[in-house]
Subunit: 219 residues, 4 copies
């Protein structure tokens, strides 16, 4: 902790501003001035804290990947039984709406994966982590007798994550599929995969503090 505390606070404040600026203007078009304006600072101050803007963006992407996974893992831990965990996982995986910052960020960065090996690895890790969460849950549920798996846990897990990813895009892009439909489709697929009827269960909405934490300034 060599850096003074106030420096860290400012860097976190700038990171939050940069997230907002990326979502607003798009990663492709965000300028230093946009970040500065979102932070209520001058453009000079942004480069004062982040000499290279790429450094800031890279950190934001890594944070987003990490946060997305931790958020979902926590949501699952809050539930006791496998079915509850499964529904919690689905709800945590879908964006709240068209402006869900975390999901928007992940999609803004996605085209870069093809060209930047580091980001491809990050993206791969994110997918594998999510799939592993589902796979572990399915396996555990099957062990406990709660689930009667219709297909291998790994395959079902990957399909669940894939469906989430695709529908999440449509939700934030504002195209054909609404969040409610996406949730229904996912619950439907999960029901098939686990041999249980998850549709009868009450939905477990994301808690307010999670949502706030998602966009909160770390400082």
């Amino acid at each position: 902790m060599a850096r003074p505390k106030v420096q860290e606070q400012q860097r976190a404040h700038l990171a939050a501003a940069a997230r907002r600026a990326i979502v607003t203007h798009g990663l492709a078009h965000v300028r230093i001035r946009d970040v500065a304006e979102a932070a209520g600072m001058s453009p000079g101050t942004v480069t004062y804290y982040y000499r290279q803007l790429d450094e800031l963006f890279q950190q934001i992407y890594e944070d987003a990947v990490d946060r997305f996974h931790r958020q979902r893992a926590q949501a699952m831990q809050r539930q006791a039984d496998p079915a509850g965990k499964l529904l919690a996982a689905i709800d945590a995986g879908l964006p709240e709406g068209q402006d869900d910052e975390l999901c928007c960020l992940l999609y803004e960065f996605s085209p870069q994966a093809r060209r930047r090996p580091g980001e491809a690895a990050l993206r791969r890790g994110l997918f594998d982590q999510q799939a592993q969460l589902y796979a572990d849950l399915l396996a555990a549920g099957a062990d406990q007798g709660a689930f009667a798996l219709a297909l291998p846990a790994a395959e079902a897990a990957r399909n669940l994550v894939a469906l989430e990813d695709a529908y999440a895009y449509h939700i934030i892009a504002g195209t054909s599929v609404t969040r409610g439909q996406a949730r229904d489709y996912l619950v439907g697929y999960a029901s098939y995969a686990t041999g249980t009827d998850l549709k009868r269960r009450t939905p477990s909405p994301r808690r307010a503090d999670e949502i706030a934490g998602c966009v909160a300034d770390h400082g």
Copy 2:
């Protein structure tokens, strides 16, 4: 007496060059010079044919959306029975590999949908068209007795497209899921949805001339 007009040829040549340039450098970073170099022309010539670069990019996106759909519809028409059509559709929907130009293009443009209403509409149309292809096929197969649908055709169709979209991204981004795995997962889901075992059928690979035609320079 005057020079013959070759505008259309050159515009097509430039569009092909621009597609390559976008895939190579990313939509966010392509410069006029990149397009010019890919076309073997001077930067001035690019703006001679496309006064605004946006005009060119927009046309490329619209073409890509259109081509993706037509390509798949044609692949399905070549097959006689519902199961064959279904497998053809799946194969036509997945990218050939990490450098599949058409799929790369679609993913390069995808983050813009959130901000550009026109592109969101285009993207929505693409999803709806693809889903409709599947939905019609599933319904027809059910009518003929070939399929015993496990869920509503519309829902199954959307899930198939969603799975394709998600796995296509992983294939071109080079992350966890290979094309072979993706195909297996999709065939598996299609088998479940249609109540038929599609895995035993011989794959119907995309024909070589289709692939060539997809990226060919028309000039």
Copy 3:
């Protein structure tokens, strides 16, 4: 007459188009393409006939200066008595309206006089010629006993031209002074200068063929 007749025709056609283009877009902003469009030709053809656009513009200016003077001299010759000639001169000196091509052209070129010695000389010659017309007329009228000059003919002549120039600008710029007012002021001043009441005389409107000739294509 070494040049073929058709060449001369085309050059005259282009000059007329250039005049229209200058009046429409302003000398400062006129582009080769504007001239080409006004002529219904391609930009390449314009440079084919006028290698340097300046050459064309210079010719247009010289023509305009010449035409303005000849037009007025002719209008005066058509009248028999001094008073009629004076009124004819005034009417020939004022623009028909906001779009009077000849006057607009002269004003478009006027700022260049300060920097281009040749154009300053041209402009000087135009003023002197006009003043001479008036001075000769005033002197002749005084000799004949028709006018009783209130001040030296040369001074009165220059003032008449100056008033014309200034009011002409307001007419084509569409500012405070209308053509009718400008004419009244000029007639008023001429009445004072000549010691005659010119206001009672019927106006001698510019003849239709003059107006047509003013904007006509020389070819």
Copy 4:
């Protein structure tokens, strides 16, 4: 802690440089680089202070119109009697010489009035203001018994301004009429209009500090 703001100073410095550049190169041909060189700055700095070059030019025109009027109004106020005011007005209305910056600017902008409604309004306002100055002065002089008007004050006032405008052009364009002649003609006309002999009065030359103030760099 932050740097002090010196924007206003620099903007004024740049405006002065732009005025010089316009007079030197002509409004039609000034480039950002010309302004930058005149200001001793880099081209980037010009756009730093004025994002759109038009913005700077528009401001310069508005300032010029305003300054021209205020300068003359002040010159008139310095004189006590109507005849003195009249002579002061005439002297303030004519350019000092061929390089009178303020007059050159007004003539550089004049062709644009036909095409830009805003500039036409500005130009109209300038004419009306000047004419009003004269009209008020003539009417006041007539009331005091100093002047015996030979024609309506409004008409005489407009003619005075028109003569000034026209002769001013010849002075800065360096054509036939010298400043001395122009002044004599104007004084002659004013004498006629007011029924007084203004020629016997000592001329009231523009004061040196006014001239300096007119072109001075405020930075």
